[in-house]
Structures are given as C-alpha cells and as structure tokens.
C-alpha cells in the first residue's frame, strides 16, 4: 500500500509539472496547447540519449528543459506568432497546436527509427528505471521529481511575484492590450511563457522513463491526464495545476489499486479511463476547477 502511495506521489509530481505548463500557456496565450504531449516526449528522448551516451540520465532534466523549451519556442515563432498577427481566431490557434503535435510526432518517430536502424538500439521501449539509484529506501525518481516540483514551483513564484519580468508577464495575462500600451513587449513575454511551459514539460518527460515504460506514442496516453489535471485544478489560477495533478495522480494510482482489491483485478485495465471520467465530471460540476471552491471561502 505504501509502495502504491509513493508511486502515486511520483506520478502526481510529474503530472503536475506537465499541467503547470498547460495552465501557464492558457493564461498567457488563451489557447489549450495540444502539442504539450510532444514537448514531454522530447524530454523523454533527451534523457534517453544522454543515458545512451553514458551520462547520468538525471542530467536530462536540465537539458530536457532547454530542448523542449526550444521546441515550444519554435511553435510560438513559426506558427502562433504569425497567426496572432493576423488576428486568427482561438480555433485556428488550437488547430495550429494540433498540427505541430502531428509534426513533432513524425520527427520523434524518425529519430527513434534512426537510432534503431543505425545503432541497433531498442529505441521504442525506453525504460531507464534499472539505472536509477535508491536513497534511504526511496527510488531516485521519487526524490528527484517531488523535490524538483517544489523547487520549480518556488522559482516560478519568485519569478512571477518578485521580479519585474514576472510583473510584466502577469500584466500580459490580465490584459494584453493594456500591457502593450504600457510599453511591455507582449510578444517577448508570450515567448517567455512558451519557453517556460515547454521547459517544464521537458523536465517531466526527462524523468518519465525512470517511472514507466515509454515510447514515441506515450504522448497520446498523457494528453487526457494532463488536460484533466489542469482543468481539475482550474485554468484560471496557475497554482491550481499541481493541486489538480495530485488529486488526479493519486486517484489513478491509489484509488484504482484500492478498488482492485475490493471489486476485482479487472478494474485495473480500466484505470486509463479515470482521467476521462474525472474530466467530464469536473466540467459538469466545477468547470472552474477546485481552486475556485477554495478561493470562494
């Protein structure tokens, strides 16, 4: 039971990192980023490549932040910024992120195929947990993911609330045209938010192969939990994302494993359905997320 709880906490931390980016982007660009899963997958392959080259895969968190951040910046400057200049609708912007997701899915698959055919490496089943360390009976990935989540949340808080850049970023979130009128470079601030969000997804992705078996299509599995965590927390408050991440993460792991003891093992097969059901229930009853309930009091 304790083991399931620890595994649940690890999963929740990773999910929170991903959801944080989605919420951040929704606040700044007002668009749900359907390409977020591919940022995660780039993180996965960054740490896998480092592991292949003989480095410690945990270095991947740092490099993954940069790689996925750049991937997100390319999306912003190549697609979203031209569309924003043309005053395209939110729908066109959503379509653009979906398109970019398809594009990146192709690229990451080519990379996996390239590794497989050229170096004869099994690049379609990425699992690095055997290389993980243990400290006082805890798996490395648990320690690193939870502490990284806390550190990154603190850094994000300091950036947003204690620096001049953060003030500008918050101004862009609240009212882009007013921010522009006050001399803030809106485009640059949006680019910064894309870099940060991509980076957070990259960190989560870099840690993911330590936790579970991954492959290029892992992104498709993650898209529902990510959005669910983000909406469950509340898209209108950045710090709702970790809250949603933990509620959903613990529900999918701890609750399902408890249910499988009570009802029967067959329920495990349907654990993938938990995010979808949670998403729909949230949208019916608390469409503005858990944070909206807390803030009301």
């Amino acid at each position: 039971m304790i083991e399931t709880l620890i595994s649940g906490i690890t999963y929740s931390s990773l999910l929170s990192l991903m959801a944080l980016g989605i919420t951040l982007l929704y606040r700044t660009t007002k668009v749900p980023n359907f390409a977020h899963a591919s940022f995660v997958v780039f993180g996965i392959y960054t740490s896998y490549t480092l592991a292949l080259l003989g480095y410690n895969p945990y270095l991947g968190t740092l490099l993954g932040f940069i790689v996925s951040g750049i991937i997100a910046l390319i999306l912003f400057y190549a697609l979203l910024e031209p569309l924003r200049r043309r005053k395209s609708s939110i729908f066109i912007l959503m379509m653009a992120t979906l398109t970019y997701d398809i594009l990146m899915f192709g690229i990451i698959n080519i990379y996996a195929d390239y590794l497989q055919t050229t170096f004869k490496i099994p690049a379609r089943n990425v699992y690095l947990a055997p290389q993980d360390f243990t400290l006082i009976g805890l798996k490395g990935v648990t320690i690193v993911s939870t502490s990284l989540l806390i550190v990154l949340l603190m850094l994000l808080y300091i950036l947003l609330n204690r620096t001049i850049i953060g003030a500008a970023l918050r101004a862009v979130m609240e009212n882009p045209s007013l921010a522009q009128a006050n001399g803030i470079n809106v485009s640059l601030m949006l680019a910064l938010s894309w870099f940060l969000a991509g980076g957070l997804a990259g960190v989560a992705g870099a840690l993911l192969p330590m936790y579970m078996m991954t492959d290029p299509s892992t992104g498709m599995l993650l898209i529902a939990p990510m959005f669910c965590a983000s909406i469950l927390g509340g898209l209108e408050q950045i710090y709702g994302a970790p809250l949603g991440g933990f509620i959903l993460g613990l529900a999918t792991t701890v609750l399902v494993s408890w249910l499988s003891g009570v009802i029967g093992y067959w329920i495990m097969t349907y654990s993938l359905m938990v995010p979808y059901i949670t998403l729909i229930v949230t949208l019916i009853f608390i469409p503005r997320g858990v944070v909206s309930i807390i803030l009301k009091r």
Binding site: C228, T269, Y270
Partner: protein
C-alpha cells in the same frame, strides 16, 4: 498494367468515398454549427468496431445457419460457414448490409450524444479539449473489453459483397461506398439551405445574437453533432465491411487530423469545397502510397513518418496563408428573402 490502374482507381475511389462521408460530417459539425470536433475518431471507431462485433451475429440470425464457433473469438471457423451462404444469397447479403449501416448510424449518433452531452454548453476551447480527450477512449475500450472485438487481435467480418463474384467484389463495395457518400453529401448540401442549417450557422457566427433571437444553443449543437456522428458511424461501418476485418488500431492522425486537413484545404462551410479538398488530398496521398516502394530502403526510417511531417507543414501553411480554403464559403440567401432584399433596395 491495365489491372493495376483499375486496382488503383478502385482503391482511390473507396478512400475518397469514406473520407467524403467523414468530411461532410465534420463540415456539418464545424462548418455549420461551429463545434470544434477534434474527437472524430470516437464515433468513427465506434461505428467500425460495433460493425466488427455485430455483423457475424446478425448474419447468423438472418441465415439461421448452425454455427458452433463463437464469431468473435473464433472468426475463421464461423466465417467458413457464413461466407458461402452469404455469397449464394444476394437478398440476405443486402438486407444484412442495410441493417448494419443503420446500426452504425444509430450507434454513431448515440456516441455523438455521449460525447457532446457533458460539453454542450461549454466555450469553444473547453469543448475542443473534451472532444479531443474522448477521441482516444474508444481504442482503450476495444482493447480492454475482450468480448467486444476480441481485444487487440481484432475480428474478421462476414463478406456482404461477395455475392457478385470474388472478381467484382471490390468494385461493388467501392460503388456502394460512393453511392452512400453521394447521398450523404446531397443531404448535407440540402441541410445547409434549410432553416435548421441556417440557425446552426447563425450560432456559429454569433452565439449571443443567435440566443437573443430565440435559437437554443444546446438544441442546435446537439442536432448537428447527432447528424455528424451518425454520418461518421456509417463511414466506420463501411470501412470495416470494405476491409473485411478490424483491429483496435485506428489512429487519430488518419481519422481526425486528415479530415481536418482536407476540409481546411477545400474550404470550411462549403460542401463543394470540402468535396474538392477531399479529392485533391486523397489523389495525392494515394499516388504517394502507390509509389512508396520506390523510396523503401533509401531512407533510414519508415516512410510513414515523412507523411506526418509533410502534411503537418502543409497544414501549417494553409492555416497561415489561406485558412478559408480553395473554395471559401459563400453566404446562402434563400429565394424569398433575396426577393425582399431586391424589393427594399428598389424602394430606396
């Protein structure tokens, strides 16, 4: 050589028919009613899988054949009994086809309702998230629930086209696909001119204005989604019957992204544009696939992934430079109103 060309054209037309059904459905949902249905796969896969599940069972009921084997888990031995009966009996085959298509349509419509039910009042972006997330569900259900279509192994279905003779089987199947696609296309075009279709477009253009004129947002969105999903379900059914087997591997790329690409290419909201976009895309796509063997072995990766990149780039260019498509939508003004406009202008 001649045979190869005939084979190519049959294959091309079958794909064109299936995609035309999907794209007219998407055009009703997005082009008329403004629903960003990124979960087209849900009802399409639903239609395809329910056909895989039920065709053999209904065939047993219709023919009264004694089949010992379970048609889901042991399809080969069940089909050995069923296929000869169907091949020698055109009437039963056609009845079976019609029943299955009706089931596909109603199951698709039901799935559309499930999909939209919780999300019907949401804003566009939330709606898109919900639909996209749900789109991935059908494959999980089909893999997890073994009695549905035998898990990841999939099922084979009885052949309802073989009564014409094995030589002409694919021609007949393609012909029926094209016929149904044509009927659905005409229906969609007709729908766009009715008050119902115009109310949908009014909601798409300006939700608040439409609601203030007494048009119910919930009602018209639900109608558009039900009609669209029924079309999609029929397309899924026909795909299973055409290919003769189905596995739970239908992809979001093929059955959600590509239809979006085609309607963007042709022109969202304009049925003729959608048909044109579909034809251009399917023609180029099939030509590439037909000549793919020329490139095999040259590249160090599977050529399939090249599709993802090139089509992604094309979509990006369309979005930036011509989001209205080749044939943009023209506003349709009914005759009686057109006359009123002319009269009021002449009075001025």
């Amino acid at each position: 050589m001649f045979d190869v060309i005939i084979l190519f054209i049959t294959d091309l037309l079958a794909f064109f028919g299936i995609y035309l059904m999907l794209n007219t459905a998407l055009n009703i949902e997005r082009g008329y009613a403004g629903i960003p249905n990124f979960g087209l796969l849900f009802s399409y896969a639903g239609g395809a899988y329910i056909t895989g599940h039920l065709t053999a069972k209904i065939a047993i009921l219709l023919t009264g054949a004694k089949v010992e084997a379970d048609p889901i888990t042991q399809p080969v031995s069940a089909l050995m009994v069923l296929n000869p009966i169907l091949a020698s009996n055109p009437l039963i085959s056609i009845t079976l086809l019609i029943i299955i298509l009706l089931i596909g349509a109603s199951f698709g419509a039901l799935l559309g309702l499930i999909q939209l039910g919780p999300a019907i009042r949401l804003r566009e972006d939330y709606l898109a998230i919900t639909l996209l997330a749900l789109g991935e569900v059908m494959n999980y259900i089909a893999i997890a629930y073994k009695p549905f279509i035998n898990g990841s192994l999939g099922v084979q279905v009885p052949d309802v086209f073989s009564w014409i003779g094995s030589r002409y089987r694919f021609y007949l199947a393609t012909g029926i696909i094209l016929l149904i696609a044509f009927i659905l296309y005409i229906y969609a075009e007709f729908l766009g001119r009715t008050p119902l279709g115009r109310a949908m477009k009014a909601i798409r253009e300006n939700e608040i204005a439409a609601v203030s004129l007494g048009k119910s947002l919930t009602r018209y969105r639900a109608i558009a989604m039900i009609i669209g999903s029924a079309f999609t379900g029929v397309a899924g059914s026909l795909w299973t019957l055409y290919s003769g087997a189905i596995t739970p591997t239908l992809q979001r790329f093929d059955w959600t992204f590509l239809p979006w690409l085609m309607i963007f290419l042709g022109g969202i909201g304009n049925n003729l544009g959608v048909a044109l976009g579909t034809f251009i895309f399917v023609l180029i796509n099939r030509l590439i696939i037909f000549n793919k063997h020329l490139l095999a072995g040259v590249l160090p990766f599977d050529i399939v992934w090249f599709d993802y990149i090139s089509l992604g780039l094309i979509m990006g260019l369309i979005l930036i430079y011509r989001p209205q498509g080749i044939l943009p939508e023209k506003p349709y003004i009914p005759k009686n109103i057109r006359r009123k406009i002319v009269v009021s202008r002449s009075q001025e």
